[in-house]
Symmetry: D2
Subunit: 314 residues, 4 copies
């Protein structure tokens, strides 16, 4: 009893997995991500049906989707990567798969997964940030996912941290995501390597030798090899990440922050300076308990597991 399916819609693949009450993935199916909006709906349904085929008794399906999901967790108001506008995803998938469906923002689903089965266990008030290519997040308050009145809360990557700052894909300027994300890390590394290549020899040797050829994995690898520019680039990212966590502490006052996403794979090299920056900018730090800053544990599975668990909760 108690099995649900979680679906994770990625840029190249859609994964559907059967998840039990402990957050364990029992089985997964992956299908390629189609390019048309309707194709994605079909592919989600196909993947769900395929993973059902083994005959296990499934209660419900949770779908994590990038974008705004409405307050009923039924309609995708807007998706940045798929051309969905007011897409009635819940109804469409329910019709195709014959199971109750819950739709959730993918970063919210991942946050929920970490809260329930990962680094957030034992906490009731948690803010998760995902330092991937961009910066996503999800907020748990009193053991409940904070969705907001219209379903679009928790868009932490788009608070403005620099007035008149960098242009963001969202159309605004100075968004946190532009300063604390994998993309930002690469920009920091490229700028520094171009200006002082003699301090970036290791880093440059990992790519094609030019500053423009530096990619995220090169920076993560170079930091392990002690490359000064790579270290400095992680520190710059950590400064912005920690300062933003301090803002979130002022607003939400959680007992823990969970830092996930590809950038967090660097581990303490980035976590420790994030903690330092967090403490530096935490307002009233001497007079209040401090939230812990923890590294995520579920890796790329968080979204699928979280979506499945949200479907279980109904």
């Amino acid at each position: 009893m108690g099995l649900t399916i979680g679906v994770d819609i990625g840029g190249t693949k859609i994964a559907a997995g059967v998840v039990d009450e402990e957050g364990l993935i029992l089985e997964t199916v992956k299908v390629p991500t189609p390019t048309t909006p309707e194709g994605v709906v079909d592919a989600i349904s196909d993947a769900v049906r395929a993973v059902c085929a083994s005959g296990q008794d499934i209660e419900a399906v949770g779908v994590g989707a990038a974008g705004y999901v409405d307050d009923k967790r039924a309609t995708v108001l807007f998706a940045p990567n798929i051309d969905w506008r007011r897409e009635a995803l819940k109804d469409k998938v329910e019709q195709r798969v014959g199971l109750p469906v819950v739709v959730e923002n993918d970063a919210n689903a991942a946050a929920w997964g970490e809260y329930r089965f990962g680094a957030g266990k034992g906490h009731d008030d948690v803010v998760c940030i995902t330092l991937g290519t961009g910066l996503g997040g999800g907020i748990i308050i009193g053991g409940r996912l904070h969705r907001g009145r219209f379903g679009v809360a928790g868009e932490i990557g788009h608070i403005r941290v620099v007035p008149d700052g960098l242009l963001c894909g969202c159309g605004s300027q100075g968004c946190w995501e532009q300063y604390a994300s994998g993309r930002a890390l690469v920009r920091y590394a490229r700028q520094r390597a171009a200006a002082t290549p003699e301090s970036a020899e290791v880093l440059l040797s990992l790519g094609d030798g030019t500053s423009e050829g530096i990619e995220g994995q090169h920076v993560t690898r170079a930091v392990e090899l002690g490359d000064p520019v790579a270290i400095d680039s992680f520190r710059e990212l950590a400064r912005w990440a920690g300062a933003g966590l301090a803002d979130l502490a002022s607003l939400f006052d959680p007992s823990a922050f969970i830092v996930g996403g590809g950038v967090s794979d660097a581990g303490e090299v980035v976590l420790e300076p994030i903690r330092k920056s967090f403490r530096r900018w935490l307002v009233g730090g001497q007079h209040r308990p401090h939230a812990q800053v923890l590294v995520a544990r579920l890796g790329g599975r968080a979204g699928l597991v979280g979506a499945a668990d949200l479907a279980r909760q109904g």
Copy 2:
């Protein structure tokens, strides 16, 4: 039945009032604010006893205090204006007045008051900002006051909106309060009046004729008289206020913002540009429902009424 007492601790006076279930103040007593920490505790208790003296049946007392109040709503962890550090205010006042006491951050209490009996009626998800001398706030999520894990959530005035920005009394830099508050308004007006006095003739005539003599009420009055510098100063404040609301919308996604405090007395002169700036910076504005931006209704009574009602809720 259902009467409680709310207490509002001001810089010069402490007010205690009997409040009914509709948020009406039936009776108030005011006493001067003592200068010693223990004196304030006594004065709170004196005011409560005095307002009880009329013989009405009182259930509980709510005390709104500036500073950090712990998760049990019992201890003031830190107060910026009174020398309270881990002050067991609930216990001390309960001992003196013989009634159950709830302590709450004053801005939270005011937000609760507006939510219950003021501009927030009919909304369940509300963020209140109080543009007084500083910038305070309170957050209601799903009909509940958001206090955070340790009781210190909702410190909206101290999120960082300008890296390396103005020093703040809290010890940090670039806090929102430094750009959106009564104090900021006065700074804007003084700077502009000093640089272009010919555009501030009305404004300057309301004070002592010097830019340094300009006070908040002069700016509010001058804006009614069409003074260009006063208008421009309100606009600058509104730009920062609205941009900050957009950030809060990204995070909390409420159905309404309520703008209170002395600065909001200017009414639409400041509310309308705040709304404009809010819309300008609201991320994803075309794809999501917009929160309303409302003016507060309870004025200076919000804190007392809110504290009384929180005491009723227990």
Copy 3:
């Protein structure tokens, strides 16, 4: 006696003109701008020979080129639009046209033109800024063009006015040009029109109806028609322009600033707020004489006339 030729290298056309000692253009020839580096050298030479053909006695040739020109005014170290790297332009053109050639940065040449024959007459210490698509400038100190030790002084558009600000084509971030230029004006207008279209009806009607369809000339036209978003966009640009002039006053202390370029065609609509912002941010303004802020007079001819005059000076 005293005739020289000035050459202006534009994106689509190269203009060569015979200029007399009063800065009057007696005759011009235009040829299309070739796409190859060597082709541009040939085209410059062709244009010079063509304008010489009328038989007037020419003393020298001045060529204004975008990019860095070395301290000998002979070599283009780097050109952003033509693939010139350490291009010995002076020698090549001299060989082809048989006249002494002086090469100068085009914005410097334009500044010199304005200084000698335009708005700068009567001043010895002048800073010119050209609000075109980008932001160029030139500096006259004690009646001499300030070229710097290596010839690359006066790159005023690339001082950093916003740390961690907008990416610039130069590879840096937060350059003044990103906030005070024609391109910035269009960005301001588009952002505002997208957020508050109801305040941009006139502006939107001049383009294709969408915020992305707004171009510079639409904003200039809409401001004449009283469009609120267009007015506000010019004001934003003026705020940044004036604040930058205040910085330049702290450094150079000229007696006049000259504001040219397409954006300045809007006249007092932009000049007056620039002056206001300049005065607002001028440090020590009560204790020092203020530089005048003048509008340029020569329009698009400034570069050609200035280059010709610099050639005359030798």
Copy 4:
């Protein structure tokens, strides 16, 4: 032959010294700095007469004064520390000492001293920055001191590097001086030591043990002892200093920058990161010769020596 006197007006002492053509100080006299404006004039004159008493043949006197000095080098338009407003200092001192007097801004005098007899030897285009309590500077162009049209050029400490940034004593906000100066260094150290005392044990042990007790000399000493917070504080200062030098390179294009003032006593600990930051932010760095970043050589004598030499030049 060729002896002149230089006068340096400090906060506690006024020094007058006889200086030869090689910049050597042959003799000095110090008197306490009076508190009244007229008293300072008398004290300057007393010091000059005292140092003359040895009977050497003196040609002229140069006085370096903080504040704005007019284009005739005669009148102090405004002094921040002494209550001089349009003070005819040249005339007053000439009357008292019977020698020709030249007045100059003290930072300009110090820059001239370094240019002529210190780190600037061999350069014709030099920008000096003095990282003392504040941030002063002086600019040499083509072997001449750049004074501007009204005498107040070279106020490099007050260019705006952070919009809406820290309040400055000059009345403006975000001035470079607030981020690159001895005062800024102390602020960086205090903030960091308060937030992460465990990384500032050495630094804290040098003062009274509290973050507020940290002074500039503690930071300089702690950096030699390897204190992490002290190192990080110098780096932060260096980031801002280097970025500002890059702006000055865009504008002035000197062949050398000279960094002086008490902060530069830390030597390479601060110079090397300044150079790094300079290169990082230098626009077009691959396409142009780079200015050298040199440490000043004359220490506290630069102002006196420079003033004396300026008097010699007449």
